[in-house]
Each structure stands twice: as C-alpha cells, then as structure tokens.
Amino acid sequence: MTEYKKPVPLPGPISEPFFEGAKRHELMLMRCLSCGAYRLAERPSCPECWSDDYEWVKGSGRGSIYSYVIMHQQLHPAFADDIPYNVAVVELEEGPRMVSNIVGCGNEELRVGQPVEVVFDAITEDCTIPRFRPRSD
C-alpha cells in the first residue's frame, strides 16, 4: 500500500466522537442539550444559547451543496495529481455546514443546491473522513 501523503486529521480537544463515528460510518454532530441546536465546530459552548451542555448524536448524513470550487492551484504536493479537484461546503439537513469533497460525479456536474449524502473514506488504517456524493431524491 502506498503511503498516504495528504493531511491526516487528528481529533481536537472535543472532537474524538466525530472521528470515532466516521470509522463506524456514522456522521456525528454536536447537539445542544439546552436549545437543541446542532453544531459542528471545535467549540464547547452553544453559539445560540451559550449552554456548555451538549451530546454527540448521529446525523442523517444528508444535505445539499451550499457552494463549491475547483482547485487549480497546487498548494500541497500530495494533491498535485488530483488537480483540478473540487472542494465543497455541504449544508447538512440538521443545519451545520461542513467543508468536504463531492465524489461520484464530474466537477462539471456540480451545482449549488444539489442534494448529497455522506460516504466514508478510510484514508488510513486509523482515520476515516466523510465525503459526499450526489443523491437523486
């Protein structure tokens, strides 16, 4: 197996459950126990109500493309062969937005508003990251 040379994310201070969830093929979100708002950020307090109490819950894994770009610049050597590659912001059904890639279609097929669903990519033995693919419904 060739060595994976792209950045391999490590859990931050509070995001271990997200990365553990990805390994189980579950897209985990933070949900405020006070007001119920969802978030996905390395941030212990709810921006809506300032409560520090939250739980990790399994999200639907569904969302839509909020915006997307095609990267033509080589700013990291390990991405050289991928150029041009897409980076998208996916708006999840629960509200939070996350940066990811859209797989399973050509860059020219991307459009804002396209419904997508999560897929999981085991980039190394220890790390799985969520990506998204178009869904038709």
């Binding site: 490590l10 859990p11 809506e48 770009v69 990267m71 980076v87 804002v112």
Partner: protein
C-alpha cells in the same frame, strides 16, 4: 511598494513612516502615537509593539498593534482619530508593512497558507484533509454562491478587473500597468474556479503610513488636510448558524450606516469609491452592501464600465490591489487620500468632494468605513 527584494519589513515600515512625516512637514519628535498593522512577515521586531524601538520612537503616549486583516488600516485611523480628538495624542502615525515576496517565487507561494509540518487537528482544521488551502478558495466559495443565487457571471467580475487595470495604467506606482481586455480576463488561468488569475489581487512588498491629527493642527501642516467626515464598522459573526449568510452579505451594510449618518451624506454625495479588492468579487459585494444597487444586482451594475476612468462611479482609481499594489487596507486608504488632496495626476478624478473608503478583513467577516473629504464638513 511592489516587487522589491532584499529589504526587510522593518525597513519598509521605517521608510513609510519617514516619508509620511516628511510629507506632513513634521519632525520625528512630533509623533506621539503609533498604531501598527503587522502583515504576514514573521520577522523579529515587527511582530507588534517592538516596532516602536526599531523606529527609534521614544516617549509615545498612544500605541497599539492591531489586526483584523484588511479592515485594520481603516480601524487604525478610526482609533487614531478618537485619540487625537480626546487629547490622548497629537500626531498618531498608522503604519502597515509586509514583505511576503521572495525573489524567484510566485505570489501564491507567499500566501499559499500551507505549512508542510502542519497536522490538522479537530473539526476546525478538517478542511485541510479535503484540500482546501490558501485564501483564494474561501473567497471563491463565496463568489460561486453569489453567482448561483443571483446569476452573477465571470463577465461581471471581468468588468471590475478591466476597469481597475485602466486606472492602474495611469498610476506610476502600480505594479501592473499593461491594459487588459475582457478576452485577456477570460484567457487568464483559473486559480480557484470560479476565480481567474485576474480576479485575484497581487502580492507586494512594501509599506504605507498615514498620520492622523486634529483638523486644527492639520491645517498648519505642509499638505492640504483630508478630513474624516464619518466612520463606522460592521462585523458579521461567523459561526455555524443556519442564518449565517456572510458569503453574500458583508459587514459593509452595518458599517456604512453609522459612517454615512455621522458624515450627513447619502450615496448620491459620493464622488469616488476606494473599496477593498482582494478579489473582484469583494468589490462587487461591497457595492451591493453599500447600497449602490439592490442585493444581487452588483453584476449588471458594474458591467457597463461605470467603475472605470470616465465612469459615473470612479472606483479604485489607483488600480486597487488587483493591479496597483497589495498593501491591505492601506491601498484603498492611501489612494483615497491622494484623490481627496487632488494629487492623482493623470488619474485624478475632477469631482472629489466626498470619497468613500471601505476595508474588508477576514473572509468577508469584518468591514470598516471612512468618509473622507478635502472640506471640513
């Protein structure tokens, strides 16, 4: 400013301050306030307040190092104005300097935003795993969303790039002065689609300084004073909230409100615009948020060439940061001062009673506004 090599950032800061003092007809000893906007260059002495020592400025009464990206220059002037009005200092020098360019390396290497040793940690850095690097991409995401919501096109962005290059052709200090056509714009390579090369600002080494004092003191100095008629700030909280729309709505709408009220002006009074143009898109969205046209109408609004020489809304009259020089918020601010003084030479706009200056910082997160004029009210 420009592609100047072999000089460090302290040199650029010193030269800018020296020239500003000389221009004003002051002595170094007159300066009793210093506000610093460090750029990106991680050099000892300019990371912040140590610049005071490096410049040999002693016994100051008002000092700070400030940074909210491209909005900082205007913010520095605002704080300096409040300081001199309240007697905290008499002459506050505000300085920006940066030297990210290295000889033989492209501009993208200077601002690429990738450190090879970096291991992303947690959700806040997860984007690196997906290949989102540098500052071009987040602006491109915003531009794409605007295009999708409102039908904005690359022709619209191109009109801004072409107009600014027309201005740059008349600015001896501009880095890029060769005229470009819309065809050149479309032929310029993709950087991060939907942004072409000509949608993105230059990278420059250099420094700019301005001196802020009271109106009464300014009248006794060498240069014609430029008065601050109004000022304001607008900051949109960037959090993961469903109602967050910072991509297509900036803080300019908030910033403008208080600045225009203070100045007692409306949009119709504005003769010249100097808007932050890290990207063509930033100009377009700022024009919308200042209210020159309806939200979403920025594309058609700029497409007829009204921003260029001879147009009805002369904008970024030195070529801006797209074609002139990239000194963050000091680029629009310094050109506004030049125009307000009537010292624009070949590119001078005849009517210059009210000049609008906008600064944008972060990824469209922070906005600061100044309304300047050669007349005290």
């Amino acid at each position: 400013m420009g592609r100047i090599y072999g000089r460090d950032v302290v040199y650029f800061a010193k030269e800018a301050v020296r020239l500003a003092i000389e221009d004003a007809g002051l002595q170094r000893e007159d300066i009793d306030g210093l506000l610093i906007n460090p750029g990106t260059t991680p050099l000892g002495g300019f990371a912040g307040l140590a610049l005071q020592g490096a410049l040999g400025l002693g016994d100051l009464r008002f000092v700070n190092s400030m940074n909210m990206g491209g909005a900082t220059a205007i913010s520095m002037v605002q704080f300096a104005a409040m300081a001199v009005v309240h007697g905290l200092a008499n002459y506050v020098v505000c300085v920006f300097a940066d030297a990210p360019l290295r000889e033989g390396r492209g501009g993208s290497a200077a601002y690429g935003g990738w450190a090879p040793a970096l291991q992303p940690r947690g959700l806040s850095e997860l984007y690196l795993a997906y290949g989102l690097f540098g500052v071009n991409a987040p602006y491109a995401l915003a531009a794409r969303r605007h295009m999708d919501l409102y039908g904005t096109t690359n022709d619209h962005f191109g009109a801004i790039a072409v107009a600014e290059r027309q201005w740059a052709a008349m600015n001896p200090l501009a880095q890029e002065r060769e005229p470009i056509t819309m065809e050149d714009y479309h032929n310029s390579r993709w950087i991060v689609e939907p942004l072409h090369l000509y949608d993105c600002c230059l990278v420059s080494n250099g420094g700019v300084a301005v001196i802020v004092t009271t109106a009464e003191r300014a009248r006794a100095l060498r240069q014609p004073p430029v008065y601050i008629l109004g000022m304001g700030q607008g900051h949109r909280g960037v959090l993961s909230r469903p109602d967050w729309d910072a991509d297509t709505v900036t803080g300019a709408a908030i910033s403008k409100e208080i600045a225009f009220r203070m100045a007692g002006i409306t949009l119709n009074d504005i003769d010249i615009c100097e808007l932050y143009d890290c990207y063509t898109y930033t100009v377009l969205v700022s024009i919308e948020d200042y209210g020159f046209c309806e939200k979403g109408e920025g594309g058609p609004y700029v497409a007829d060439g009204k921003l260029g020489p001879g147009g009805t809304l002369p904008t970024n009259t030195g070529g801006g940061m797209l074609s002139g020089y990239y000194m963050w918020g000091m680029t629009p601010l310094s050109e506004a001062v030049i125009q307000a003084r009537g010292q624009g030479g070949e590119r001078q706009v005849p009517k210059r009673d009210v000049v609008l200056v906008g600064g944008n910082g972060g990824i469209l997160e922070h906005h600061c506004t100044l309304v300047l004029s050669p007349h005290p009210s």
